[in-house]
């Protein structure tokens, strides 16, 4: 469970949950895409309240493991400026069986998105930048 400033290594994350008792590994990778809400995106700044984000990620994983006790989970979220196609978050959940690995993976990404103190500011091709607010339909544009 970590906030990192470097590109995410998916295989290293998978290796952390791998084990001789594991038969299924589900992963989720979030990437920067070139469009959002109809606007052309050139990149995203990710910012975190790092000590709290790390603790929230640990709490989310602990809750997943309370619900699916045999699942092994690892999560990493990147901060800094990312370009289109780069991974911002990666989750790996491993279990003897596939259903718990998939259910836990989904729980972790859905819960992470509503609770972990991380923010993103999109850079648009037109030169503006904007903090993304999922609680509002539209956000105020801030000139870059």
């Amino acid at each position: 469970m970590a906030i990192v400033h470097e590109p995410i290594d998916l295989l290293a994350l998978v290796a952390r949950v791998q084990d001789a008792g594991v038969g299924a590994i589900s992963t989720f990778v979030g990437t920067v895409r070139e469009h959002n809400d109809g606007r052309a995106v050139s990149g995203i700044d990710y910012e975190a309240y790092e000590p709290m984000a790390t603790r929230e990620l640990e709490r989310v994983v602990a809750e997943a493991q309370a619900q699916w006790p045999s699942v092994r989970c690892a999560v990493v979220h990147r901060v800094g400026t990312l370009t289109v196609g780069e991974a911002s978050v990666a989750i790996a959940c491993a279990d003897a069986r596939r259903a718990p690995s998939m259910d836990a993976m989904r729980f972790v990404i859905e819960t992470l998105k509503v609770r972990v103190p991380i923010w993103k500011r999109e850079h648009y091709v037109d030169g503006t930048r904007e903090w993304v607010d999922p609680t509002r339909a539209a956000t105020a544009a801030v000139s870059s």
């Binding site: 709290m52 603790r55 979220h77 911002s88 998105k113 103190p117 991380i118």
Partner: protein, 81 residues
């Protein structure tokens, strides 16, 4: 009175023009009172009705008491992932 330093991030840091805002209120105080003391400050009009607050790296209810030395942060709507 020693002001309570409040950590700000993302759109809130932009609104107040700083990443650590000294809020003129004496601790102990409730989270709700702390937020109310921020509203008259420059940028305070951009706060929502009930902004999320974290005390010592955990979300805190409006009635939670902030003690001297606590790490207090205002949490804008999160958008990780």
């Amino acid at each position: 009175m020693t002001p309570v330093p409040v950590l700000l991030f993302a759109s809130y840091a932009d609104a107040f023009g700083t990443r650590t805002l000294p809020v003129p209120i004496a601790a102990p105080c409730s989270v709700a009172d702390l937020v109310d003391a921020m509203r008259p400050l420059a940028g305070g009009d951009r706060l929502p009705a009930t902004p999320l607050v974290a005390v010592n790296h955990a979300y805190a209810a409006p009635s939670h008491m902030v003690m001297p030395g606590d790490e207090v942060a205002l949490i804008p709507p999160v958008a990780g992932g």
